[in-house]
């Protein structure tokens, strides 16, 4: 048997937001070609699902890696409060220049959540629709892969 037993806690949240995929480094025609409908000038929206996983020791007194109330309020203040019912391009400073693709959304959310003080952030997964999902595990110093 390899390795100690690890436990992670997974939690899913929802937010609705609009975005427009448009890169200032591409011409109008290139933007149109690369992003298609997602480049339409006034943007469009999605119901996003955010799934996060955190790890840590399970406290024998509570049976918990982290208290859900603490996790929920942290995610609310760091991500949901800033993204829900917002325009990602206009309302989130990180996306003034960076294109708010769901790939970049994963990276931004990971940055915002990695300082959660009660447990270690392992993964951020964002479903843009039921058919498209993106997952980021942070930068591993060993470069290990599954």
């Amino acid at each position: 048997m390899s390795g100690e037993l690890k436990v992670e806690l997974g939690r899913r949240y929802r937010f609705a937001a609009s975005h427009r995929l448009h890169s200032s480094r591409l011409s109008e025609a290139e933007n149109r070609r690369v992003y298609g409908k997602c480049n339409n000038p006034y943007g469009h929206g999605h119901n996003y699902t955010l799934e996060i996983r955190v790890s840590g020791d399970v406290d024998p007194a509570t049976g918990m890696i982290a208290n859900l109330a603490d996790l929920d309020s942290f995610v609310q203040s760091e991500v949901l409060g800033a993204f829900d019912h917002c325009s990602l391009n206009d309302d989130v400073p990180a996306f003034r220049e960076t294109v708010p693709t769901t790939e970049n959304l994963c990276l931004e959310i990971f940055q915002r959540l990695k300082s959660f003080p009660k447990a270690r952030l392992e993964a951020v997964r964002v479903e843009e629709t039921a058919n498209n999902s993106f997952e980021y595990f942070g930068e591993s110093p060993e470069g290990t892969q599954p």
Binding site: M1, L5, K6, V7, G10, R11, V58, A61, T62, L68
Partner: protein
């Protein structure tokens, strides 16, 4: 390596209460989960086994065999049970998703002799789950 996942569902009741805490602390830490008469969930369990497909059968394991293990080890123990009172393996532990997943891992790991138990994921609801795996096996991915 191929990863095979089998899903089962069971329903059970539980409550969170630590006798070492005062009633106020129990209420503050566990919230509604501390309600004295308990409450229930429909749990979904995903069990992932890693292995190489047998060259003759093309299978990592016999699914019927896995199904029987899950029936015996998990369903008969936990389905339609009160996790605090009726599951000896959870005695003395708060029956959180984390602890139940770990108990299930410990029940299944020695029994999975075809392939190797890779990950146990237990959903308490669609929005809350716990994963259990051995470090270094990529179970987190």
């Amino acid at each position: 390596m191929v990863y095979l996942t089998r899903k089962i569902e069971f329903s059970a009741s539980h409550l969170y209460h630590n006798p070492a805490f005062s009633p106020e602390e129990n209420r503050r830490i566990f919230g509604k989960c501390n309600n004295p008469h308990g409450h229930g969930h429909n749990y979904t369990l995903e069990v992932t086994v890693a292995g190489e497909p047998d060259p003759v059968t093309g299978m990592v394991l016999d699914l019927k065999w896995l199904k029987e293990i899950l029936e015996r080890e998990v369903m008969q123990r936990m389905d339609h049970r009160h996790l605090n009172y009726e599951v000896p393996e959870l005695q003395g532990q708060i029956p959180t998703c984390e602890n139940i997943a770990r108990v299930i891992w410990n029940l299944l790991e020695p029994k999975i002799t075809q392939g190797k138990l890779h990950r146990v994921r237990l959903y308490e609801s669609a929005d809350l789950f716990a994963d259990c795996y051995r470090n270094g096996t990529g179970g987190a991915k």
